[in-house]
Amino acid sequence: MSGVDAIVDVEVGRVGMDAPASRIGDDAPRPDGVPKVTGDFAFSSDLWHDRMLWGGTLRSPHPSAVIRHLDVGPALALAGVYAALTHEDVPGSSTYGLERADQPVLADGVVRYEGEPVAIVAADHPATARRALDAIVVEYEPIEALVNSELAEASEPIHPDGNVFRRIHLRHGDQTVVGRSDLVSVEGIYEVGMQDQAFLGPESGMAVPDGDGGVDLHVATQWLHADRDQVAACLGLPSDRVRLSLAGVGGAFGAREDLSLHVHLCLLALRTGRPVKMSYSREESFHGHVHRHPARMWYRHYANSVGDLVRVEAHLLFDGGAYASTSSAVLANATCFSTGPYRVPSAEVEGVAVRTNNPPCGAMRGFGAVQTCFAHEAQMDLLADALGMDPVALRRRNALATGDVLITGQRVTGSLPVVEVLDACAGHPSAAVRPEEPMARPGGAGRTADADHVVRGEAVALGFKNLMFSEGFDDSSEARCEIRDGVVTITSACAEVGQGFVTLVRQIVGEVLGTSEVVLEPASTVGIGSAGSTSASRQTWMSGGAVQLACEAARSDLLTRIAGDYEVPADDLSLVDGQVTGLPDGYSPSLTEATGEPVVASVVHRHAPTVPLDSDGQGDAHVSFAVSAHRAIVDVDPDLGLVRVVELTTAQDVGRILNPRQAVGQLEGGAAQGVGLAVMEEVQVEGGRIRNASFTDYLIPTALDMPPVEIAALVEQPEPGAPFGAKGIGESPTISSTPAVVGAIRSATGLALPRVPVRPEDIALADRDPVKSSPEVAA
């Protein structure tokens, strides 16, 4: 590789060697924590090479158009421009995709969403690259965009693969109960807007040609190996000629599961023979990654008069936008978890994910369960109201537990402490007081509300989701542990995107091998197999488990060797505080002495197998489940429709806590994303065009919008089969926080609020009981 030392070394993985060994359960600090706060951490946008060129992408201004003419000649004629490429320059597969390869690397004659890449350039300076993009001549013939997901199925296909990504028709239990006259039923239509992952580090990376036809790509991603395979296919190269290394990731939340600039960078680097860097602007980033699926959902719940759920019917329509991405898996999750963590003996759920000319949607924290949780929790509150029951009591009465059967027909065999989580959260004392400080009222710094303009509401919600990949996916993670001269070197391709794998590795090594002398190799595709994606709440289980098994195997090999040397049973020996103990005469060699001759162990870790859903949406499709609860207390200014979340309390099913500090971090951050979806976060799309592609207008919660998260309980019921009994915890906080906040706004205002995010006008301009109108100025 040429000039590689000039690339900023992104050493997220290297941990200090002088600290005492961390153990499972410790508050071990993140090795990348301080550098991230001080600005020393190298993000992918900091990549640098002295000989590098700058890449740029020309994107479609139209959500739907035919390209009549495309000429990159004028760009190439500019001084300082080294390459300008179109679809004709893609040597391998012209399309890519995580589930199916339906998305063009560069548009070929037609564009299907605003922002679709049409051409790419490499130039000596970002400004030259911008001028080159301006010089490219494209003639578009706009065609009417298909932007209404409800019309997608019946419309002309906008892609050769058709307009339906997937349909799941789930039927469970007795389908004849509907006619029973003794049932109470409630019905609602719910809508979830398009949320963005809103990570801070925009897409960036650098491709470096190896001079031999291959390429090294440094990029911020969630899944190095899946990227590599897709990139290699598009480049027409064997996988081993394309090497990916993880560059510093500035947040992911699902938005880095799909390719973005990966193939473009490699094409430009291979064409120019020079390293090429690209870094999206914020606006470009909004067009450059998938978003959370907007959804329209119809629900009807039936219960008997004492509040036992009898049946749930639902229609789920998910707008996947122009290309497939992970729509099919998102829809499966939405459908399977559409009824929440409740016993539902009879269900009929039809889920459809469709293609439109809207921005492509795919993975985002919560992955399908977020949308349906908003709906099923609203339904549970409606039902409680119809039955005259306390909403918490209704939930408790119907709570799933180990041994129960899901609407997919799968029996829950692992831990599932729904009642424990619900009771801990709902029963937690509230510390919420009426704020004295005007800034602490709805409207915040704008000082819009006086005390008597504010009403308070409270609600509890439960969230439910699978952990790991589902539906028969052969999910694996490989890890290697080498112990040499007392230093443990761990190799894994697990992408650290902020979840804390780099911390956990040190704790696992401390726990299993009793030492703090740990080096975590930078994550790459070289010399190690896939770790799978950092998504689906799966890396602690999958890659943490792989590291644990690799460490155990290395320890076993080492102790067996020493036991052989000293002719003692291996079972007598252990590794404690960097020493081998249990040898005769109190002799205890240090780990350094014991590993002058190294031991190495590699392990590929798999979770229990699953099966695809059958034609009725039934089957043991999931590995494990997790439940979470949130209670929100909100203050609302009904006249202006402004909201202030006053308190957020949570309890979560975590299996076992591996690092309390990191666990709390996940719960807080995830809840903030849920609050955002509840009251402000939406990619506003009109006619297929994004209206707010900036952080000026795509609003995420500030410190004045996000209350402290009260942790009522981290419920520890170890999960059988999971490393150390720990469940993945990253997604749950985002799932139940949104419905809790909206439920609380409903309780404060009496409004139905069937859509998130709740906009000020949804409250202020709703038809409201006149008694709630604003107090008059005293005469």
Binding site: R130, S281, E283, M439, P442, G443, G444, A445, G446, R447, T448, A449, D450, A451, D452, H453, D639, L640, G641, L642, R644, V679, M680, Q684, R691, N692, T696, D697, L699, P701, T702, A703, L704, D705, R759, P760, E761, A764, L765, S774, E776, V777, A778, A779
Partner: protein
């Protein structure tokens, strides 16, 4: 590209005379955002935030002169804040602490955004903008200075030196509606100034028109009907009518930040609330 870091007002004016189309850079909180988005050609830049004459404020009798490079943080705090409370309230709603430390009042005027938060207050106070060039100095009333959305009356070679406004005796309010509780662009805002000795009321609206709007009819009605000699209170029917007139004065648009209907509704609510705060007795105010 050239960049002149001016140390005196004369230096800045001279640099602008040399390159009349140079861009003036103060805190950069608007300009850099624009530059990063590629929306502004910045061939020549004149940096003005280190010019002592443009910083800080002074009181001359009943009038204040606030230097163009005075920051929102400075306006929101201290003695100045007690002299023009509504301006301080507006300045405190701008961005975040980091932004307020850099953002200047001159920059807010220079950008002349319909959502610029200090503008409704300056409009309500009939502020005047002191404009300088190498050869001249002129004073422009705010409504002659802000001539359209993001458009000012500045000529090439001119810069904003200061803004002049009166110190009034009476309550002032600034209220701003945004979708987020802080660091948010205003969807609608309202500034209210009650001048007791002058027996007049001024109401200006932000983010509901191309430029800050004075709700003149509402002002006149309120001034007429306030019981100036007594406890300064308006009866509720009059309040209704004043708020209606305020809402009528708004000329909002539909955009991704808010709808016409919501914006009109919001200024109505803001008018009601600001009047109540301003006209409430001491005792009532404590209960708010």
């Amino acid at each position: 590209m050239t960049a002149t870091i001016a140390r005196t007002l004369d230096e800045a004016c001279a640099a602008l005379a040399d390159r009349p189309h140079a861009v003036v850079l103060a805190g950069g909180t608007d300009l850099m955002v624009e530059a990063n988005r590629g929306g502004r050609d910045m061939e020549d830049v004149v940096v003005v935030d280190r010019i002592p004459e443009l910083r800080g404020w002074a009181q001359h009798g009943g009038s204040l002169r606030i230097g163009a490079c005075t920051t929102c943080a400075e306006i929101g705090d201290g003695e100045l804040a007690s002299l023009v409370p509504a301006l301080a309230q507006a300045a405190r709603t701008v961005g975040s602490p980091q932004i307020r430390n850099a953002a200047t009042i001159g920059g807010n005027l220079g950008t002349a955004s319909p959502a610029g938060d200090t503008l409704p207050v300056l409009a309500a106070l009939d502020a005047e903008v002191e404009v300088r060039s190498a050869s001249a100095s002129r004073m422009l009333p705010l409504h002659d200075f802000v001539i359209g959305p993001k458009a000012t009356a500045l000529e090439p070679g001119e810069l904003i030196a200061a803004v002049h406004l009166p110190v009034t005796d009476g309550p002032q309010e600034f209220l701003k509606v945004g979708v987020r509780n802080a660091m948010v662009i205003s969807v609608a805002s309202l500034a209210l100034v009650v001048d007791r000795p002058g027996r007049n009321v001024r109401i200006a609206l932000g983010s509901v028109g191309p430029v800050p709007i004075r709700a003149v009819e509402a002002e006149v009605l309120a001034a007429e009907r306030i019981d100036w000699s007594g406890n300064g209170i308006l009866d509720s029917e009059v309040v209704e009518r004043v708020c209606e007139l305020v809402a009528d004065a708004a000329r909002p648009i539909d955009d991704h930040r808010g709808t016409i209907a919501y914006r009109r509704h919001a200024v109505d609510v803001l008018a009601r609330r600001s009047l109540r705060r301003a006209l409430a007795s001491e005792e009532e105010r404590n209960g708010l």
